[in-house]
């Protein structure tokens, strides 16, 4: 694993001057991922906060070849780029080595882009797909996605007089990706940069399709104190809301184990989207939240043990 000193000697390929909100998690994720890839890289991006904020004509924050075509098809667009690369390589028309990365938000990945993601994974194009997961459609103004946690207030799952925010749990996308039989799947958070950087490096060198789900706080949609962006991702790990693991060739492995599992309320209380859960009438929902996290954690540990 490279040290921060080593990383800081690498060229930045997601550079300053982008227009993400101050303290946006996506900016940290993009920077860390691009620093971790120590190879020439072509990037594709799905429509969403990261894309719109980083490439407002005539200014682009991507100091590496980059393409955006639409919202639901980053994996498909990059699969075409990978096919082009392989074709031109085979014909001796290029000699340049390159790796390929696609970025999509949770909306562009869990929801509208799930089909193209699944297609590209099944076909086994050699790329790393990164979901920067801020758990809602932020670019269009904080609507629910299938990555939005239980009880969260969003503008399409608002907490109201009779409904307590989102009624459904988020889905386990990493497990869906593992079921594709791809060589590498992992979760990460920017607050544990060393874990993230190590995984990105493994992912781009795994020889096939790799998928990473990276928690990416949104100070506007969660909303939280912007200074806490990194801290809040570490808390998600410590509460087992966002466990850190990797799945190499189908084998689950925990890459970090919290010394002492913290209650979910530690994480929830920092974000206004969950504030209504602390009202007495929503006590059972809060309990359900904790239970579902406990269940998920137990299941994950079993998967890791049996591996």
């Amino acid at each position: 694993m490279p040290t921060l000193k080593e990383l800081s000697s690498r060229p930045e390929r997601f550079v300053s001057g982008h227009r993400l909100c101050p303290g946006c998690g996506a900016g940290i994720v993009a920077r860390q991922v691009m620093l971790a890839i120590n190879k020439p890289v072509v990037v594709g991006c799905a429509t969403g906060c990261l894309e719109v904020s980083s490439t407002i004509f005539p200014y682009s924050a991507w100091k590496t070849p980059w393409v955006h075509s639409a919202f639901e098809n980053a994996a498909a667009t990059i699969s075409g780029a990978v096919a082009a690369y392989q074709s031109l390589k085979k014909q001796g028309r290029i000699s340049q080595e390159a790796v390929f990365v696609a970025f999509g938000g949770d909306g562009g990945t869990y929801d509208i882009g799930l089909q193209s993601l699944s297609g590209a994974a099944e076909r086994g194009h050699r790329m790393l797909y990164i979901c920067y997961d801020n758990q809602a459609y932020m670019n269009t103004g904080i609507q629910r996605s299938s990555a939005t946690p239980l009880g969260a207030h969003t503008t399409t799952s608002p907490a109201g007089r009779v409904l307590p925010g989102k009624l459904q749990h988020s889905k386990d996308l990493p497990a869906i990706m593992v079921a594709h039989g791809i060589p590498y799947v992992a979760t990460a958070v920017p607050g544990r940069w060393n874990d993230l950087v190590t995984k990105v490096d493994k992912a781009v060198n795994c020889g096939g399709f790799a998928f990473m789900d990276i928690l990416s706080p949104c100070r506007l949609g969660w909303p939280h104190e912007p200074a806490l962006t990194m801290e809040i991702t570490r808390l998600a790990v410590e509460t087992c809301i966002w466990p850190l693991y990797e799945v190499v060739e189908g084998k689950y492995r925990l890459t970090y184990r919290p010394k002492e599992k913290k209650p979910v309320t530690e994480w929830l209380k920092l974000q206004r989207r969950f504030s209504h859960l602390f009202k007495p009438e929503n006590a059972s929902l809060l309990e359900e939240f904790q239970k579902s996290i406990d269940r998920g954690w137990e299941q994950l540990l079993k998967k890791c043990e049996s591996a």
Binding site: P40, V42, G44, E51, V52, T55, I56, F57, P58, S60, W62, K63, T64, P65, W66, V67, H68, S69, A70, E72, N73, A75, A76, T77, I78, S79, G80, A81, V82, A83, A84, Y85, Q86, S87, L88, K90, Q91, I94, Q96, A98, Q115, S116, S118, G119, A120, E122, R123
Partner: protein, 399 residues
């Protein structure tokens, strides 16, 4: 193959697939749909047999197939696909993006009716709906034209003054599944005619030169209009390029093509405008009516985008009555899609014919010589009286 440069019997789909083999694209990404499925199937076999150098992406949808073509083309790869109807509809979003990003993707489209009700047979509703997408559209009358059009499409799309995607079409089943005699060029002739992909800055070259580019940025109020204006200009520039490519094709291979193809129009008073495979039937009817002394003719439109305004004005303005045969409905309580464009083209002419729209052949409804004779008889009456009693007629529907 062993049949290069000679007469062969091919279906429209086989001819498209053979043209693709000879074009030998760097990337093909496609998804099956009747009646275009065979194009992908036959091409997959070429890949499996090592007959092409192509990387084939068997996409999980047409949306992804076009997205993959976009990604590949953005890397400087010659990229192709094929589809029909619902498949084209699913690509809709990406069609506009391919054109807006100025990617010279070439697509074989087999025209088929759009659902609902679901139907697998020919009409032009699918490509007509894509008429404002920024794609060059070339219609084919027969299998030979389909083959020739697809080969010319590569040169047109990649021309430095154009750089727009091109679709070449055939009528579903009528051409796609119909065996016709055609002349195939040799692999070498095609290779030489299309030449290598013209050099242009792309994602991979920008990686090699260490001058990375960003493609597909967000254009707000400040730049979108300028970039769309460029696309509009490319469509204007496509005109002479299409002519030049057709001329060179004619010189090399002896088959010449224009934007439109007039038939017995020189002294005609009445004509129909038609696209695709119906042209042949219309010509037969014209011959019959001519021998009965009627001054009738046909104008076939081969290139629908860019719209051949000059040719239309030149050939149609001297006439008395013109019937526009629209193989799609506009569902606008007025007319089909071809009618208003021809009307608009002629509007400013001092002398211009009366125009009547005939919507026909939806969902593969057969169009018989009798149907077309009926159209001519309506038109002859309009020519005689100088008046029309109706603006639109549905030809061949049970009343």
């Amino acid at each position: 193959m062993g049949q290069n440069g000679k007469k062969v019997a091919k279906t429209g789909n086989e001819a498209f697939a053979e043209a693709m083999r000879q074009i030998n694209p760097d990337v093909v990404a496609a998804y099956p749909i009747t009646p275009a499925t065979e194009i992908v199937q036959i091409f997959s076999q070429f890949v499996a047999d090592g007959a092409v150098k192509t990387e084939f992406v068997p996409a999980e949808s047409e949306h992804s197939a076009m997205s993959a073509c976009i990604g590949a083309s953005a890397c400087g790869a010659r990229s192709m696909t094929g589809t029909s109807a619902q498949g084209l509809a699913l690509m809709w979003e990406m069609l506009y993006i391919a054109a807006g990003l100025r990617l010279p993707i070439v697509m074989a489209v087999v025209n088929r009716a759009l659902s609902a009700p679901i139907n697998i047979h020919c009409d032009h509703s699918d490509t007509m709906g894509a008429r404002d997408a920024g794609w060059i559209q070339i219609f084919s009358e027969n299998v030979q034209e389909a083959y020739d059009n697809l080969i010319q499409a590569v040169r047109i799309a990649e021309h430095p003054e154009v750089r727009l995607p091109v679709m070449a079409t055939t009528d579903g089943f009528i051409l796609s599944h119909c065996l016709e005699t055609m002349e195939m060029l040799s692999d070498e002739q095609v290779r030489q005619f299309i030449g290598p992909v013209p050099a242009r800055e792309n994602l991979l070259s920008s990686l090699e030169n260490n001058r990375p580019i960003t493609l597909g940025a967000l254009d707000l109020q400040d730049y979108y209009f300028e970039h769309r204006r460029q696309v509009a200009e490319a469509m204007v520039k496509a005109g002479p390029v299409i002519s030049g490519v057709a001329e060179e094709f004619g010189q090399r291979f002896g088959r010449t093509y224009g934007f439109v193809e007039p038939y017995r129009l020189d002294d005609a008073e009445v004509a129909v405008v038609v696209m695709g495979s119906t042209t042949g039937t219309a010509r037969e009817v014209v011959d019959k009516l001519r021998s009965a002394g009627q001054k009738v003719g046909v104008l076939k439109i081969r290139v629908f985008r860019p719209f051949p305004v000059e040719e239309i004005v030149r050939t149609l303005s001297p006439l008395k009555a013109v019937g526009i045969m629209d193989r799609a409905d506009g569902l606008n309580a007025f007319c089909g899609p071809l009618y208003p464009e021809i009307s608009a083209a002629l509007y400013d002419e001092a002398s211009r014919p009366k125009l009547v729209d005939f919507i026909y052949g939806l969902g593969g409804r057969d169009v018989s010589p009798a149907n077309i004779e009926e159209i001519f008889s309506d038109l002859l009456q309009v020519a005689r009286t100088g008046k029309k009693n109706f603006n639109l007629k549905y030809t061949g529907v049970r009343e």
